[in-house]
Symmetry: D2
Subunit: 322 residues, 4 copies
């Protein structure tokens, strides 16, 4: 296939995707092509074919996930919570319109029903038609896609869930996702929808040595005030140019040694994980001294009143942050 990038024999690339990780930091991928573009009432949507990371989903100019390494994000988001649960049957996804989170959940043989609740129908339809890797998942009879605000949806539902997965954009004051990270939402809306022994896990933004103070430490601290057991963990995701964080929370103990973890993977999960196993999770859930210390010191809570800003997510709706 041809390549538009060569330039006067020097191999210089001509077309680039450029993202401002922060105001003073740029991350640029050489492009093969711009596969699709579209827009919804909430955001611009694009699917790019990048040289370093393959197909990349971009919402409002922010990379959501890249073909080559989204497995790191999605295996890390989904499997620890489902594996720590005794017998996860009913799962609720807040956001996740991309479909990759559902795909990983549906690999679990115990799972009988998955509700994916995303507010942006265009994103769901766009991913359904353009992301080949998730096609099968979108057509799995166990998956029920609902277009709604996750809070409204959880409030109106009577039945409970074994695991609730937060695959939303980061909390920013004024952003539509913010209210889905607050103490009052967790206490008043989310926790009541968890069955006995239920587990909540959420993506929690960047968790690098410096970037973890943007939202990760505050999400962790907020959940610490709502659940008895809270486990923060992280992994470096190359296409994000950062280490990413997740927080798992429950009122039941979250203890599973590496061997048990691997045993449950063998029993419960179809196919083989590429990134995550017992040892990987053991490593991922031990944060560096620098991050541990600052998490321990974190006092801020997300409440309706307060918020923390994370660069460049200012106008994101209730969408998958990856």
């Amino acid at each position: 296939m041809s390549d538009i990038s060569s330039s006067n024999g020097s191999g210089r690339k001509s077309c680039w995707y450029e993202e401002e990780i922060e105001q003073n930091l740029r991350w640029c991928f050489a492009l093969n092509s711009i596969l699709h573009t579209g827009s919804s009432q909430y955001q611009d949507i694009a699917l790019l074919d990048t040289k370093p990371f393959g197909k990349a989903l971009v919402l409002d100019g922010k990379l959501q996930s890249a073909e080559m390494d989204e497995f790191i994000y999605h295996e890390s988001l989904v499997h620890p919570a489902l594996l720590h649960h005794q017998n996860p049957k009913n799962i609720f996804i807040m956001g996740g319109g991309e479909g990759s989170t559902a795909r990983e959940i549906l690999r679990h043989r115990t799972v009988e029903r998955v509700v994916m609740c995303d507010i942006d129908e265009e994103v769901v339809d766009f991913c359904k038609s353009h992301l080949a890797a998730n096609k099968e998942a979108f057509f799995d009879p166990r998956l029920h896609v609902v277009i709604n605000d996750a809070r409204a949806e959880l409030e109106k539902r009577k039945n409970g869930f074994d695991v609730i997965v937060g695959d939303l954009a980061d909390p920013i004051e004024g952003g539509p996702c913010y209210k889905l990270y607050t103490k009052s939402f967790y206490e008043g809306t989310l926790k009541p929808r968890l069955n006995e022994g239920g587990i909540f896990v959420t993506q929690a933004g960047p968790a690098g040595v410096f970037s973890h103070t943007e939202v990760f430490s505050c999400i962790y601290n907020t959940l610490r005030h709502v659940f008895r057991y809270v486990v923060p963990y992280s992994a470096h995701i190359p296409s994000y140019a950062d280490t990413w964080g997740w927080v798992m929370a429950s009122d039941s103990p979250l203890t599973l040694d590496a061997e048990k973890f691997d045993a449950r993977i063998r029993q419960r999960i179809e196919g083989e994980n590429r990134y995550l196993d017992g040892k990987t999770f053991a490593s991922a859930s031990i944060l560096s001294k620098a991050v541990r210390k600052s998490l321990a010191k974190e006092t801020q809570l997300y409440t309706e009143g307060t918020a923390k800003f994370i660069y460049g997510h200012g106008n994101c709706p209730n969408i998958p942050s990856a």
Copy 2:
């Protein structure tokens, strides 16, 4: 139509076409999309949809022409030579595969036959199918497209031409176009193919206050040694981020005042020029003091022995340089 460029509401663009004008100078256009890519035995071919200049044809990572301002280049290349000629009927284009040069020539009512000789069939086919503005020209019965090396083609032809138009990449030592700019080619091959009163015109590379020394002054000086009358002229082309140059040459006087020039436009050319008229050409053919002085002092000739380098055209074949 959607736009992939907005980022976190700041209007930042995400996808860019980047060209190195020189090693230390970059020129970047925000992209709407990458419309088509392909490649030939000679070069990579791409058609980009850029925000500032519309559709842009890129060969080997060098912008060839942009929808929004290619009229400046092509009106300047074609009309002065054809208007200075008494009655131009037979025209030969060296290169020009893009089709825009043929399009402008075919606007002349006097023209009976145009031979466009480009070495790269894929470029010709690519432009034929993708450049809407030139569709009509490609299907004009007066146009005869030949896939061949321009020198070989001119050598084998017996008949002469009223005007020969050079729409080739700039001369670089070792580049396949170089030999089409030499004194020996002009004297031994090209000039013999010009009919009585015939005129040769060629694109002559950048002609800015500094950039004219790359090839413009040397092309001018070479032609000055082959033809009795030689007229260099130039125009600023926004998408090139530079002033561009052309040289018109003949053994018959090249004198046409602005009024006569305009009168012939009215008599001979279908439709209306956007850029060029008598006054515009009068201005274009008066070079600034800085450029005039250095042209007057230029002593180098293009011969089989010598050559001058122009940045970033190192691997260009016999192709339209715009």
Copy 3:
């Protein structure tokens, strides 16, 4: 001197100055170094050492002038007006804090007194100490630097001037320069300060085939309503990546053929011009068909009420635009 730019032997440059010419168009210079930075109450000031254009003065992230080609701008701004005047003795510069405009004016033997009125003392001091090329001019006894708003200064002065030179940032609604481009300012303040036979000339923003509609055509049209004779002209300035425009205006005829123009240069100007002579001005003052047509059709006037926006000059004070 060393060069920080080489990278893994590929000659790639590491440090770049980047400017958004427009929102969708970037212009980037490889950097040798950042020589000085400072800031005033009005703007950030920087002097960069760039590879393609030498030392460059940047105000609020916009290139003001570059060592290698500022002579094109300043010779074009100053000499046509002074040469068209019978005997220019007293000159007033609005803005011009960089000192290059004064430098060119002071080359005229007829000139007895130059008032340079810039509102930003820091810019004046910065340029005085850092721009070697203008050192001599700053210490010329004929130069009188005043720190004030040009309008206030012209209003309070009783004496008249033979030539008034506008070297200000472009007019943008809300920008502090805007009021120095309005019909009422020209009529009520500026014109009364011109002596009999006096001439006003102003930089007039980009004058490219597309960019001339930003402010050039409107400045031209406004002056056409205030002065009997108005001459717009332009030149391509490489470091601006565009053709630039100036407008000369007077109630006395502005007619000087190329020969007379050159004769007066010889009589009046110390040293030799690099860019401008009679032929160059003749060419510069003949605009292309595209620009001429749109100037002829321009109906908008700058009045206290109206304004036109030019990209990226939103917060410029009363400063040299080059």
Copy 4:
């Protein structure tokens, strides 16, 4: 202090440092200033003041270390090896001219003598005079700086060392560092210089999910053939936009649990680590499933015959790679 970066009020940055992480991947830092530049017979040297990561040392256009996060690299390189040793007194650094590696080693109370052997005197002098954080280390009487090729130096020395630290550029075929990563060098030159119970540790290039195959896995495999006990570990370094790897090797067991590790930190190290402690190392030395699997499968050895290429390090001499 002023900031050259603001542009037309939009906060856009004007000056950038740009690095090609790989051919298709760029990483760009906004610049405050270019503090110093120089060059040696081996490479260009620059000290930049960047907005996201503070002062950054750049050699031949590759970031070596950044003020804000170099502690992650240097604590990880130095402390695990010294803490695993019973009583490290004599230390040899291959490369390390920047001084940060020596600084961390000299924090160990047990250390009596450190030989830093770097081939590039200019780099050593440059860092000595410009890197404030390492000033004290450079003047520590225990530090002996030798300008020489590390191999030649180790060969001529009779005495042994308790710990040898490799702080060299990555191995590239043809690169001058390559021979300092080969099986024959480790066996024939380095290992004989290690005292009983001695430990060797080396930086080992990128260790990300994809990038670890560049050199990390091969360095690991080569050491596995030379030493009985080999421990690979890694950490994400924000300014490198990647996870970085190190390999520790010895013929004595390398077993130290987190508590013992922390106890020795308290006993032996002056001041407090910011990044590394027992838990951090426990996590760092458990690689993800993806990396573990590919390390286990690695069969290539660095020998005089073979080599692996890592992007953009083609012309690096015997220098600190961070």
